[in-house]
Symmetry: C2
Subunit: 275 residues, 2 copies
Amino acid sequence: MISTHAEEGAPLAGGGARLHGVVSLRERRAEYVLPRNGLITSDPGCPGCNQRDRCVGAGSSPEDLAQVDRIIGHRRRLERGEVLFRTRDPCEFLYAIRVGSLKSVQISEDGREQVIGFHMAGEIIGFDAIAAKAHTCNAVALEDSKVCAISLKRAGEGSAAAQLVQRNLSRAMSQEITREQRMIVLLSYSLALSRVASFLLSMSNNFEARGYSRSEFLLRMSRAEIGSFLGMTIETVSRSLSELAREGIIETDQRHLRILDMERLRKKTRRIAMI
Amino acid sequence: MISTHAEEGAPLAGGGARLHGVVSLRERRAEYVLPRNGLITSDPGCPGCNQRDRCVGAGSSPEDLAQVDRIIGHRRRLERGEVLFRTRDPCEFLYAIRVGSLKSVQISEDGREQVIGFHMAGEIIGFDAIAAKAHTCNAVALEDSKVCAISLKRAGEGSAAAQLVQRNLSRAMSQEITREQRMIVLLSYSLALSRVASFLLSMSNNFEARGYSRSEFLLRMSRAEIGSFLGMTIETVSRSLSELAREGIIETDQRHLRILDMERLRKKTRRIAMI
DNA sequence: CGCCGTCTTGAAGACTTTCAAACGAAGTGG
DNA sequence: CCACTTCGTTTGAAAGTCTTCAAGACGGCG
């Protein structure tokens, strides 16, 4: 049984890797106070966050972390499908994903959505707005999620904590650039099956990096969203997954995915076509 | 007659836009001192650079610009085909392109090149190395070029000039993220003709932003490099260009390109296929 | 002038999209 | 509780697009 409910567990704890999406009862926490706008007003903050070593306060002592916490403008809970920011929203905050996952989409003038990225807990989104002074894409929650708004104004004020945050933001932007470069390489693969295989491996790596199983997880996005991201129709996504399943490389049940043969999946990423 | 020689002119001066690649005699300058390794030892520096309003010293007074100049580790001249940095080179410098253009390529384990970006004067490259502590791609000059090495160590030292540089680098990274997001959108277009049209328009915008003609320019990269970048074979690149020329939208003569109908070229970017 | 690398063009085959139909899960209303 | 709708997904067949293989054209250079 796989729950679709997001949870703020501590997956990095030793032993076998937790399966993403599976919620054990003892990990449930009391809900934070939630006013109607989704703002979280009572919260353990950065010192109590399980993403603290991955986020803007990385590398600071517990005391410093309390200072880093002041850079956070507010924390917010998002329901599945809720929009965090939209194109042309002014650039005030970056958002650290604490729980859950989001997608970035660009809307073309004729109203079609194009997914340009999927983001998981521990990632920071909104960097595109720094230079443009406004967001250039929409961010939408793929599941119930929690985000921390990093105030760009406070991050630029020059305190020791702000400087630490700036260094971490710089590192995060560099990571984002590297991630997008990998995406550009992926999209240049000519064969649909290669792109789907690469996508699954990247998901697998993302889950593994967060302490979840790398071989079994729940895809939080629809086939249509995968297709939009990978530049193919949902039929081709479906056929590619079916083909991988037919060859015994993966097993799918709805959005639940199990990788049976990691090495053969990797081989599939090497496009056969093109020189 | 179009020269292929790079030149450090002042294209932003008023009147008609200069044609990129065309060199008028009076714009030629005395060559800088060039030791065998391509290092430039005598140079007007940031205050005399025509990219100063676009680069890391943007927004500073002429006096401050002399301080910014200290962040520069060295300046270097590259010949066409010369490699600026390679994958796994340690991360010491970012590079500001002063004259010319470069490509970023990733080399797959089987030795094939994949172009992941083209970069022009005024851009800064190497951001991928900040988080990874080493470069994750190779940078190769597409034409004779000049670059300024920005010392990451000196940029982090905390002086007023260094802080200005850091803000500008942050902006440049955000721009780079936005650029790559646009590339991801481009690559998701299913039709080859749409991708080629988008590529030409992006080139056109790049030249226009630098004061050159937006409708007539010299492509510094081969069809093979375009194909690698756009994820298609060189035959498909060639056929797409021929098709656009047949329709009277562009005119090509080798790498020299003239856009005859910007609006119809824009229409071609809207992919017909897919929902 | 002839060689070489780059580019263009043609034809056949491979792959993807499109259109259409069917399936299963989830939710609604009788 | 079951029919019924809806949505997301899967599968099939035909049409369209791209790649592959092959050959020819073009320009630069010795």
